[in-house]
Structures are given as structure tokens and as C-alpha cells.
Amino acid sequence: MAIDLAIIAIGVAMAIAGYGAVRTKSLLVSIILSGGVSLAASVVFLLMGAPDVAMTEAAIGSALTTVVFLYALARSKQSDLETSDKQVGNPMEDATIPPVDPSLGSTGTGGRP
């Protein structure tokens, strides 16, 4: 009976964390929450008497997948920065072609001195 109650409580927490992972604006929070869902799932597997599956879920689901997602997030942020730098910087740096719109340069929205 106590095990049933624990499984139900962890299940409700998993559902809430999963909903939060879908709804949140921040990708970092979303990744952490989905890792937490996996950790709770591994506890449920253990309570249900499947230690093999619990070990797999804890190691792959909550540790390795989270790390892979975090690496991917860092890489995508990096490439975002690189491409935006190129788009803003190129017309100003290229000396042969003058800027098409002079007002853009005077207002300083380009962001390059």
C-alpha cells in the first residue's frame, strides 16, 4: 500500500514536471526538468521491482541524455552568435561596397563602430 502511494505521488510529480518542461520558455529549464522526469521514472521502476530498467533509466535517461542536450544547447547558442555576427558585420567590414542605407549607419542599429 505504501509503495502504491509512493508510485502515485512520484507519478503526479512526473506529470507536473513534464508539463512544465513543455510549457517553459527557457530551454535550459526544460532540459533539467526532463532529466528530473527520468530520475523519478527510475525510482518508479525500482519500486515496481525492475532494477535492471531502473539502472538503465537513471544512467541513460537522466545523466547521459541531459548532458547530450546541454552540449547541443551550448553548440546551437554558439552557432547562433556566429551567424548573427556575420550578418551584421559583413556589409560594414567590406570596404568596396558602401552601406546601402546611410540612415542605418547613423542610427547605429548595426552595432558596429
Binding site: 535492471d52 539502472m55 541513460i60 545523466a63 547521459l64 547530450v68 552540449y71 547541443a72 556566429e82
Partner: protein, 232 residues
Amino acid sequence: MMRKILVTIALAGFAWAFLPLMFDAGVIDAPGNLASAYLENSPKDFAAANVVTAIVVSYRGFDTLGEVAVLFAATAGVGSLLTKKRLGLTGKTEEKKASTEILRTATGILTGLLVMFGVYIFMHGHLTPGGGFQGGVVIATAVLLSLLASPQSQVAHGLMTVIESLSGAAYVGFGLLGAFLAWGFLDPRALPLGRLGALLSAGSIPLIYSAIGLKVGAELSGILEALKGDRE
């Protein structure tokens, strides 16, 4: 508006389709025919104390070989896609932030223990819960920790390749040994079965699972290396 209605209808359809399953859910008192056959026969057939491992490595050995092949294909894909050139890291010396004192100290203590624990898990796969996949992932976690602690360090790529290919070849080799010396491909009875519960028992199951563990550990370390951006 129209889209929301359609989505709601689709969700309601899925709920209606899965409704009968809800009433069937519950705890079954006695295992079914197939499960009880496995429970009864695996200690007798293979002297494997952990029935799950007997199923994964021998009764369903082909599935496991397929899983290992899928993981290999995934690793090869990640390694060929995430090279330094594609990530745009060539020619630049990235300044990596040094890790904190706490992480470095903890890593020094934990890395050896984690590798030992991973090896323990896959060597005792036929006795206790766990096995090659779990042990391999634990070893990859140790590699990840040491990569995080010293960002300048690199995974020994050549060594990983050698371990990965040798253990894959050993897995198939033990399978073929079963085909020649016992009753079929991946049959663990090619080697002496031994006493139930001993470390050296269950035929070639512990050797096969050790090969799988080393292979999975090397492959996942390779994925981490590629994601870190060290792959040429």
C-alpha cells in the same frame, strides 16, 4: 480554431482507442506461460542467476546484437557529422574556462571508482541486476566527468577505436563459437557452465556482456568527444 478542434478530436480518438487497456492494467499474480518457462529454464539451461541477462544475451541474443549495431551506427553518424570543420572550430583556439576546484577534486576521487563500478556492473551481469549497457554508460559517465573537470584534455581517440572494434569482434566471435561448439549462434554453452551463482559461470554470458560493456562505454565516450568538438 479549426486546428484546435482537430487536435482535440485526435486526442479524444487516441483516448478512446487506449481506454480498454486501462481496465486491463494491474498486477498479475502469476507469470504467464512464456515468463514462467524463462524463469524455470534459464538457471537449468545456462546457470545464469539473473534471468533478465539470460533472456537478453542468449534467448534474445539476436536483438541485443541488433541493438549494439544500432548504437554503432548512431555513434558513427554523430562522429562523422560533428567534426571540427562542420562545427566551424577549425583554426580557432577556443578559450575554455577552467573548472572549479570542487569539481576537479571530486573528479580525481570519483573517476577511478566510477570505472570500477562500471566494470563490476557488466562483469556481474549474470548474477545481479545490470549488464553491459548499464556498465558501459557508467564508464562513459566517468569519461564525461574527467572531460568536464579538465576541458583542455582529450579522449584517447585511437585507444577508444581499438577497444570498440576489438570488443565488437569478440562479441561476434563468441556468438560464432556458440554456433560451432554448441547448439546455435550466441549459445553460451560453448564454454563450461559452472556452478549457479559463481562469478565464472553461465558459459560465455559474462564474456559477451563484458565485450558489450566495453563497446558501449567506448562508443558513448566517442559521442561525448564529438559533442565537445574534439573530432578532427
